[in-house]
């Protein structure tokens, strides 16, 4: 059977960085990605990243992806398998995958799960009409294939994804009729909100969508204001003519492989769902199995890349590769701490505290 030292599952920001860090220290790495190209969500991000220079702040996601791809392809320790979906992790450590209609088996010494997250859905009448998309789908259509989803959009969710995708829609020449959020406050960065608002797009907090309507596809939506108990207020209904409804209502970690591998899992609302328990070097309760990026808890891409560094260095270190790993790990952990130390990171710290808490029931 084929063997490798480090298997990285997922070629998004976390997985790419993890592969680079492990390979630069000398480990033989296989990086798998189910899409036909690397980059994950980075290839859809036209905005400049926040953070500091160490996390590529000021660069756009699309450019960060190219930079990381360059580092990957220049490293002879890395084998990249695109269009390859990992199917299972077995008791004996064998990982099975499907690629190019073939079933492959691989036995890695260490495995890093960087599978990212999937979008959450929202219950409302007619939410299955064509023209209702997840925010990621709109980004894929628009920013990867250069196709607009429609002409006039209702964005549901004023977190960073809802705000950023609204701005990206406007950059593609699509009208955003309104951004609504059930919460009484805008959840995303206020600078994103301000730049959309000054382009004339209303941001309606304490608002929800009651239903979508249309025959074959979306023709409009009925909105309503919410009271302080988040209940619709009768008589506040508004009819909005739109042909696209975009849902940006949060993400859930993609953890199927962690469940299957037997990781101890815990439900952490701050992280978007069930995530594996892990130590500070991102090793799960299954020895040799690491998790980084959104798969371990939904956060920003900047943090995902630093987590990739931690997991990559830790995996290489455990195999005896690399020099000064301790300093490198300390530096990465300090970067994570910095990213999370402000008010914007409070939620993540709260989630981490819950995840690390002892003595509670976990699955």
């Amino acid at each position: 059977m084929r063997e490798t030292e480090v298997l990285v599952v997922g070629g998004g920001p976390a997985g790419m960085v993890a592969a680079i860090e492990a390979a630069e220290r000398g480990a033989k790495v296989v990086l798998t990605e189910r899409d036909d190209r690397l980059g994950g969500q980075l290839i859809k991000q036209t905005h400049k990243f926040f953070g500091s220079q160490k996390q590529y702040a000021g660069s756009r996601g699309i450019d960060i992806s190219k930079l990381l791809e360059g580092k990957l392809s220049n490293n002879s320790n890395i084998e990249i398998l695109t269009e390859t979906t990992v199917l299972g992790i077995y008791e004996d450590g064998v990982v099975t995958m499907e690629g190019a209609d073939k079933h492959l088996k691989l036995k890695p010494k260490r495995t890093i799960i960087a599978t990212g997250a999937s979008e959450k859905f929202l219950p409302f009448a007619n939410n299955d009409l064509p023209g209702i998309y997840g925010a990621g789908a709109v980004q894929t259509l628009m920013n990867v294939y250069g196709v607009t989803p429609g002409q006039r959009v209702l964005m549901v969710g004023a977190g960073n994804i809802g705000l950023i995708v609204s701005y990206q829609l406007m950059q593609s020449g699509v009208e955003v009729a309104a951004i609504i959020d059930a919460a009484p406050k805008i959840g995303g960065y206020l600078v994103h909100a301000s730049k959309i608002r000054r382009a004339g797009v209303p941001i309606l907090t304490s608002h929800t969508i009651l239903n979508a309507y249309g025959q074959e596809f979306v023709e409009g939506a009925i909105l309503a204001s919410l009271d302080d108990k988040w209940q619709p207020i009768a008589g506040t209904e508004k009819d909005l003519t739109v042909d696209v409804i975009c849902l940006a209502v949060g993400l859930s970690p993609l953890t199927e492989l962690c469940w299957q591998a037997g990781c101890e899992m815990k439900y952490i609302p701050e992280f978007g769902g069930y995530v594996p328990r892990k130590n500070e070097f991102l090793e799960t309760t299954v020895p040799g199995l690491y998790v980084c990026g959104d798969a371990g808890g939904v956060e920003e891409a900047s943090a995902a890349m630093v987590e990739g560094r931690v997991a990559g260095i830790a995996a290489a270190e455990s195999l005896g590769y690399g020099l000064n790993n301790v300093q490198a790990l300390k530096a990465a952990l300090k970067d994570l701490e910095e990213l999370r130390s402000g008010p914007a990171g409070e939620k993540i710290l709260k989630g981490l505290e819950k995840l690390l808490a002892k003595g509670e029931t976990a699955c």
Binding site: K48, Q53, V191, A193, S194, R198, G345
Partner: protein, 167 residues
Amino acid sequence: MLVKTGIPTEEQVRQVSPSQERLAAGPVAVIECFQEIPCNPCWEACAKGAILGMDDMNNIPKLNFDKCNGCGTCAMKCPGLAIFIIDSSYSPTEAVVRLPYEFYPLPEADEEVIGLNRAGEKLGKFKVIKVQKGGIHNKTALIWVAVPNQLAFELRNIQIERVVNVG
């Protein structure tokens, strides 16, 4: 209110505005960043060391107006497009607002565009006096718009009226 609508209050804007004397002396940055988020490219970009208080990247940047020469490097770098350059020395009656812009098409110098305030409301038509392109890597342009003095702290966006063929 900013956290409900995305529109900063007058009081918030006043707190980040330079004095009348400093404004009269020439171009200066106004950093309309009111939330602690992990972000510091403005501080890393400033060659004059005019942006202070960023030893923790979660802090809100504070500008030393006297050190700032209004070069605009921070405004083109800011991921939140939250920095504007105000030049009140442009003429006795007019000021120039330089604003970051990332839409297609870019206006051209001498073109008349619609000016918008922080709520996206139309303020009238104003002349673009210069378009400072961001280059192939940065891509954020700075649009220089001449406005009556009293609108220097109102105008924050533009809209182009030209009919564009989007294919």
